[in-house]
């Protein structure tokens, strides 16, 4: 079994060797490490992407807008990912971001996962009608069977989830009421002596 440290070092070097800057290589290495730690196809997909990159060119998207459509080629997941990471604090104000034709979206997902931690919000992605939740970089949930991510995402919709409870007020109240059963009803004497402070605090 390869250690995550070996994975990170090798991906960093391979990314640099594929023509990216050292700084971008460092980011990519962290992302592939993350995918592997989550049991997602990091090494597999970055390998395929670098092989494909030798034959085909990809488009770099540096400035992400609400709707993004590449001219003809697919978006490079690394440059797209780095841009998303760098712009995440401004992108979170957009209601929804749409991206078409993204190569190896699994790689891009890792960058979005890190962005989720930076902005402190969960992120929802609809990838060609499959659902993915990026949970503050703690884990990635998806309903993609066997984690077989496509080599190209035709359409990606990204939305930032507000930090709200995912249960009803009623459910909370019920649970809270149950928790009160661990409290002791205070008698007059307990009210007098149970707490550390005096009865008046005007001194």
């Amino acid at each position: 079994m390869k250690s995550l440290s070996e994975i990170e070092t090798t991906v960093k070097r391979a990314t640099k060797a594929s023509g990216y800057s050292w700084g971008v290589a460092e980011e990519t290495a962290k992302c592939v490490r993350l995918l592997e730690a989550f049991g997602l196809p990091g090494i597999k997909d970055i390998n395929k992407y670098f092989s494909e990159r030798k034959e085909n060119s990809f488009q770099n998207l540096n400035l992400i807008l609400e709707k993004n459509q590449p001219s003809a080629k697919s978006y490079c997941p690394i440059i797209l990912g780095v841009s998303f990471l760098d712009q995440s604090k401004s992108l979170e104000f957009l209601k929804k971001i749409e991206l078409n034709n993204v190569a190896y979206p699994s790689i891009f997902l890792a960058f979005v996962s890190r962005a989720s931690e930076i902005i402190g919000k969960k992120i929802h992605i609809n990838l060609d009608k499959k659902e993915i939740i990026l949970n503050l970089n703690l884990n990635i949930y998806s309903n993609i069977a066997n984690n077989e991510f496509p080599s190209v995402a035709n359409h990606l919709e990204i939305s930032f989830l507000e930090n709200i409870d995912n249960f009803s007020e009623e459910e909370w109240k019920n649970l809270y009421k149950l928790s009160e059963d661990t409290f002791v009803e205070e008698t007059e004497s307990l009210k007098q002596d149970g707490a550390g402070a005096g009865l008046t605090d005007n001194d």
Partner: protein
């Protein structure tokens, strides 16, 4: 009195970092302190009459066990090399997490002796190999087998029976990643398991030499005297492999240096020093002279440094014994100020280390701060502005901004990774090929480049926008935001200049390990000794904390 922390622009210069010495903060000393109440055991000792075979040693406490698995092999003299190109060694070791079963030992027997080309598992924590000091090993076995103790003069010239040529950890070659074990309290300090490996290897060398001597002449053989064992350490040969580490781990480097600086600051702030503490300090300085006078090297560079150190320490000792009054207020501050004015960098840092000796209450809490959660500081705050970035650079890198990288001598060298050994190397940019594959270790040059572009960029531009056109500088932009929070995270010097002494980088790291007697074999590699004078495993429960200064050979 409030003392400021020392200026990183002085302390983080390579010549100063290359003058650091071991101290109470050093990892091998904090390892001994942490594991002193663990149960030590030799679990297996299956060597043949020539000392070849397997052995297992362990440290145990409650349900936690760490086991050193040793494999000693026969190699021909011509196969023995300390260089990284070697493929065979006298002995190979791994530290196993738990008690190794028979299957584990069989698996490890196949992999550990192969070192870099073998594969370890998440159950192994560190990996190492070592070569005999053949001259010394043979002399010791010969004498012991004749019922005689070895010649102390010869021992003092070498100081160890074996020297390691690499110690690996943290996920290398399949070893366990740091994250798997980082929450264990007993290893809450850098390189603790590497230190454990080296310490147990030292014991193996004594057991092996006794075993071989006994088998040579069972009737006459005696054991190596315990006092002699104590005064032997483990050697280490270290090359450039270690140098990039301190550049690649800026927050960790900061935490090491910051701990040392906080300790010094707190000691200088002590208003009244009690007699016991001042006497301990003076005693350590006095006894440490043996370490300097028995420091052997053929390196002219190091000889000159040792001579200056000896001269300055003797002068300093004379002064504190005859003319200095420890009952004055803030005595250690006065001492420090005097050192800065009158002694060389090597002596300043030497005495700073010894100042810590009486003050475990200052150093022990700092030991716990010497690790780093590096991931936390990895992300670039890209929403910040070009103006922020430029201000940080001006404040944190003033000396680096003065370097003219247009001059050939300031841009003379480049760092690269060798294809055959995957190890870092340094070469002349104008003489050798390969500079197009330069590693990102020319931080000073790249910071200066970044600064020059920032000077002509719009102040209000966000870093995110700036990065779109300047992706090639992303690695140093990350560092600028790190140094903003971690003042000692950056070497404030040129790592590619003509006059760079790479051994300064090695020495910095080795001093934090706790190494003694740096012996440069060139400007790119050196030999050191670890654990010389340290208590033996069975003495750990009650040992003299100042053992470093009480070495007798």
């Amino acid at each position: 009195m409030k003392i400021e922390l020392r200026d990183p622009n002085t302390i983080m210069k390579l010549s100063r970092l290359g003058s650091f010495h071991q101290s109470k903060l050093s990892f091998l000393r904090s390892f001994l302190n942490e594991f002193k109440d663990w149960e030590y055991k030799q679990d297996l000792f299956n060597l043949d009459e020539n000392g070849y075979g397997e052995a297992v040693y362990s440290f145990k406490k409650d349900k936690r066990v760490y086991s050193l698995v040793c494999f000693a092999n026969h190699i021909k003299d011509e196969e023995r090399s300390d260089r990284v190109i070697a493929t065979k060694w006298d002995a190979a070791f791994t530290l196993h997490d738990g008690v190794p079963g028979k299957k584990d030992i069989e698996r490890l027997k196949n992999e550990v002796p192969k070192q870099e080309v073998g594969r370890l598992s998440y159950k192994e924590l560190t990996l190492s190999r070592a070569n005999k000091s053949v001259r010394l090993f043979n002399h010791v076995t010969e004498n012991l087998s004749q019922g005689l103790q070895p010649d102390l003069n010869l021992l003092s010239k070498v100081g160890y029976l074996y020297r390691t040529t690499a110690v690996y950890g943290s996920g290398k070659f399949g070893l366990a990643d740091r994250f798997r074990i980082k929450n264990r309290e007993e290893i809450n300090g850098p390189f603790r398991l590497e230190m454990m490996l080296v310490y147990l290897v030292r014991q193996f060398t004594f057991d092996q030499v006794n075993h071989v001597a006994f088998n040579k002449n069972p009737k006459k053989a005696i054991k190596l005297d315990e006092q002699i064992c104590k005064n032997l350490g483990i050697g280490n040969s270290t090359g450039l492999g270690m140098a990039p580490f301190i550049v690649n781990h800026p927050t960790l480097l900061n935490n090491w240096i910051l701990s040392r600086e906080i300790a010094l600051k707190k000691i200088r702030e002590i208003q009244n020093v009690n007699k016991k503490d001042s006497e301990l300090f003076v005693d350590c300085v006095k006894k440490s002279l043996t370490n300097i006078t028995s420091w052997n090297t053929d390196s002219e560079y190091q000889k000159k440094k040792i001579n200056n150190l000896l001269k300055d320490v003797q002068k300093f000792l004379k002064f504190i014994e005859n003319d200095f009054d420890f009952t004055r207020e803030y005595p250690f501050n006065s001492i420090y100020e005097l050192l800065e004015k009158q002694t060389c960098e090597e002596c300043i840092e030497y005495v700073v280390s010894i100042m810590m000796e009486p003050y475990s209450e200052i150093t022990e809490p700092l030991v716990k701060e010497m690790s780093s959660d590096e991931e936390k500081y990895f992300n670039i705050p890209a929403h910040r502005t070009v103006e922020d970035l430029r201000n940080i650079i001006e404040k944190k890198y003033p000396n680096i901004l003065k370097i003219n990288f247009e001059k050939k001598e300031n841009n003379q060298n480049f760092w690269f990774i060798s294809k055959n050994k995957e190890e870092p190397r340094l070469a002349d940019r104008f003489e050798e090929h390969g500079s197009e594959l330069e590693q990102p270790l020319a931080i000073a040059r790249d910071i200066k480049k970044l600064y020059e572009i920032l000077l002509v960029s719009k102040n209000s531009q966000t870093v995110s926008d700036f990065l779109i056109k300047n992706s090639n500088l992303r690695h140093v932009i990350r560092r600028v935001f790190i140094v903003e929070k971690f003042p000692y995270s950056e070497i404030q010097d040129n790592t590619i200049g003509k006059n760079i002494m790479p051994i300064d980088m090695l020495r910095l790291k080795l001093s934090f390990f706790g190494a003694l007697k740096f012996d440069p074999r060139s400007d790119k590699w050196l030999r050191i000794c670890m654990f010389q004078g340290a208590p033996l495993p069975h003495e750990l429960k009650n040992y003299d904390e100042q053992w470093v200064y009480k070495n007798n050979i």
